[in-house]
Amino acid sequence: MATIMGARLGKIERLRAFLPLSEGEHRLAPLGHAPADAALGGGIACGALHEVFAGEPGHEAAATGFALALALRVAQGKSLFWIRQDFAALEAGDISATGLLELGADPARVLLFRAAHVEDALRAAGEGLASRGLGALVLETYGESKLLDLSLSRRLTLAAARHSVTAIHLRTHATPSNSAAETRWIVRARASPFNEENWGTPVFDASLARNRHGATGQWVMEWNADDGAFRETAHLKPVAAAAFDRPAATAMGAKRRCG
């Protein structure tokens, strides 16, 4: 009997480790990237507001991928609510369902809201954060707006905490300003490892520029769509970085795969 109980308890412990999100108010969703998780004190906080900025113009897709990856970590299989401004879709491309699928999201569990302008996007975000059914909400706004200020970030934080829906505010063509967000990430695309045959897995140069409850840092993070988790890239700085220091002729002769 005791052994059975013991085995059961062990199983429960294992399940608990496996499902770290299942209990408690301040749940943390580990990202899977050890140094980043250490800085975050175990993982990214659920039921809070996180900001993701594109490091510079042209890196919107990388920031989008990173925001999606964060959302997938916190949503844990629950539905995802993606709010995007029409203009962002024109400028940086629309969210593609096949693209979501390639990154490990289930498009059937994604709701897309097309907002005509920032006001509508924010109102929809307010509605979304009041809905317990959602796992995470991504609010994508384009450019600067007077509405996106400190008091808005406070409101979003409170709303996120009330129903423990995690909000990820993806901002493109914008510069960081004061906000009440739990974390702020500045994301750039990162070249694929040099000698990788299967190149093109999403690798981000992510800088944790703000962390209300811990240290900041900068890491190269790779998203593993199959496990639905981040990981450290095997080849960190190395040869790949040298590629763009070389003269153009060498770069043109770089590795290609046809077919």
Partner: protein, 554 residues
């Protein structure tokens, strides 16, 4: 006096009572009329305004019955089946009874329906309809679908009495609004329509349609003037005499359609009307002695109506998928507002919330004016909904929460704003998935899984441009991968490229052949990954292929 251009001559399109007394007739040339009465005041006929006005009147008539149809372009048709008994007894609440008081207060108002200067008249229903029809009043055809032999004789008598007082009441309400109207009640729409025009005030007892329309002139049949002429030449002056002829004879001479129309007018064939708004599955309404104006009151009443509608729906085991609230203003204007839900519902709080969202988002806000005296809530479309206890299944609760979220957003921003993805059976990248309104889409078990190969880097970009953007590309060989490309005025140095992935357009769908696309996945010196394609196979389809950026990978 209204004129319109008919066959390049100015002719009288409508004459009022005064003019008719002086011998002016419809269709008379304006020059002839001027010769008779040099001081004639004429206005141009405005068909669109007439149609609009008739639409407003039809909206107003919805307070008597939800089934209102336009009868030609100058009359109205109401299905008042089961309505008349409300008017029979002086003790019962008569719909619209109290509104007469508010209207009477305005009767002294010189602007109401007295002259043609309709533009200055303050209410929606003030253009004088009595001028519009050559015969004067607006024909109002009412029908009740009640077959003979349903009831005993005394019940039938009572029913006829009720119908008479209803007709009287409706006509009085019209005249209070400044309109002249004349009506008739019959068992079929065609008969009612003919009687309203040629024998106003008639109320046909069940089974007597044929007898009632028999003495009417053939003009009462809504047929081509040529056929009417033909009938008259054949010596058939009344509908009765036409009906006495053999069916075969008539069909041979005037066509099958004419015989059908005759049968409908005689009450021998079914004659459904096509109402302006669909017949609701069920509806509840509230009438107020004191018109209500404030938003709070409206919200409260909508909640109460939703609650009583929910009770009715519960007994039927259904829930509403689409609801319409009709607001009848005391001055005759009607506004109809609709909401839809993703799942059948009878939750009053939820319905009230959705109406709140919808009302808050109206571009043209609900104007209560002098107040609303009738508010009606109808379940336009319903679906099965079986009552069950609150589920412990968290998935089920989640689904309900999300459906409610979808409904709220759709009510507020429109249903095309909140979308869900669906895979399509095509390999054209921009058509491979489609985002459909989430309220309508069924979350079927679709084959999303199959598209992804585990362990592989993404083959499709996360962000896809709706319209591929033109790029300038330098390649080593014309059919090789790009070496450099210029897109949005920036040069990108390609460090890696993979491709081509050849995607041919679907020749069976398009008429002219679209060129085949060769897609390349490329990475630039900053690590950004793009999806480019060359439009057309070099040397086979084109010698100067264009390049496009179609998407950007994460």
């Amino acid at each position: 006096m209204l004129i319109a251009k008919v066959e390049s001559a100015m002719r009288l399109a409508a004459v009022d009572m005064n003019a008719a007394r002086q011998g002016l007739r419809l269709g008379m040339a304006l020059a002839d009329a001027r010769a008779m009465i040099p001081m004639l005041a004429v206005h141009d006929a405005d068909g669109h305004a007439d149609t609009r006005l008739l639409g407003h009147i039809a909206d107003w008539c919805e307070r008597y019955s939800p089934l209102v149809a336009l009868d030609g372009n100058d009359g109205l048709l109401l299905d008042v089946t089961g309505v008349a008994h409300l008017f029979g007894n002086n003790n019962t609440v008569i719909p619209g009874e109290h509104e007469r008081e508010s209207v009477r207060a305005r009767e002294g108002d010189p602007g109401v329906g007295e002259n043609r200067d309709g533009a200055e008249v303050p209410h929606a229903l003030s253009s004088p309809a009595r001028m519009r029809h050559p015969l004067g009043p607006l024909p109002l055809a009412l029908l009740t679908q009640r077959s003979a032999g349903d009831d005993s004789v005394s019940l039938q008598q009572q029913q006829l009495h009720h119908e008479a007082s209803m007709l009287q009441h409706v006509c009085r309400a019209f005249s209070a609004q400044g309109f002249a109207a004349q009506g008739a009640i019959a068992r079929t729409a065609a008969a009612a329509s003919a009687l309203a025009r040629f024998a106003p005030g008639t109320i046909v007892a069940p089974g007597n349609d044929a007898k009632a329309v028999a003495p009417l002139p053939v003009a009462a049949l809504a047929v081509d003037p040529l056929i009417q002429h033909g009938l008259r030449r054949a010596g058939l002056k009344t509908i009765g005499s036409v009906a006495a002829r053999g069916r075969g004879e008539l069909a041979a001479r005037f066509g099958r359609g004419f015989v059908d129309l005759l049968d409908r007018t005689l009450g021998r064939a079914a004659n459904p009307i096509s109402p302006r708004n669909p017949m609701p599955d069920c509806m509840v309404e509230r009438r107020f002695a004191e018109p209500i104006t404030t938003d709070d009151m409206i919200a409260e009443i909508l909640f109460a109506l939703a609650a009583s509608l929910g009770e009715i729906l519960e007994t039927r085991g259904t829930g509403a998928r689409m609801l319409a609230a009709s607001f009848f203003r005391v001055d005759g204007k009607m506004r109809r507002i609709e909401i839809e839900t993703a799942q059948p519902t009878r939750d009053a709080a939820m319905v009230a919330r959705l109406f709140h969202e919808r009302l808050a988002a109206l571009a043209d806000p609900l104007d209560s004016g002098f107040g609303f005296d009738v508010i009606r809530l109808s379940a336009v479309r319903t679906g099965p909904l079986h009552s069950h206890a609150t589920s412990f299944d968290s998935n089920e609760n989640e689904r309900q929460e999300i459906d409610f979220l979808i409904d709220r957003l759709a009510a507020r921003f429109g249903r095309t704003r909140i979308l869900r993805f669906h895979p399509q059976d095509t390999h054209i990248p921009e058509a491979a998935t489609v985002a459909l309104p989430a309220q309508y889409s069924i979350t079927a078990k679709t084959s999303w899984k199959r598209a992804r190969v585990s362990g592989e880097a993404p083959r499709r970009p996360l962000r896809l441009f709706a319209k591929p953007e033109s790029a300038r590309v330098i390649a080593e060989v014309p059919d090789g991968p790009p070496a450099r490309f210029r897109w949005r005025r920036v040069w990108h140095q390609v460090t890696r490229a993979e491709g081509p992935e050849r995607i041919a357009m679907e020749w069976w769908r398009t008429d002219q052949g679209q060129p085949t696309r060769d897609y390349f996945r490329v990475e630039d010196e900053k690590g950004r990954r793009f999806w480019l394609y060359r439009d057309g196979i070099y040397n086979r389809e084109t010698i100067d292929p264009q390049w496009f950026v179609h998407g950007v990978f994460a």
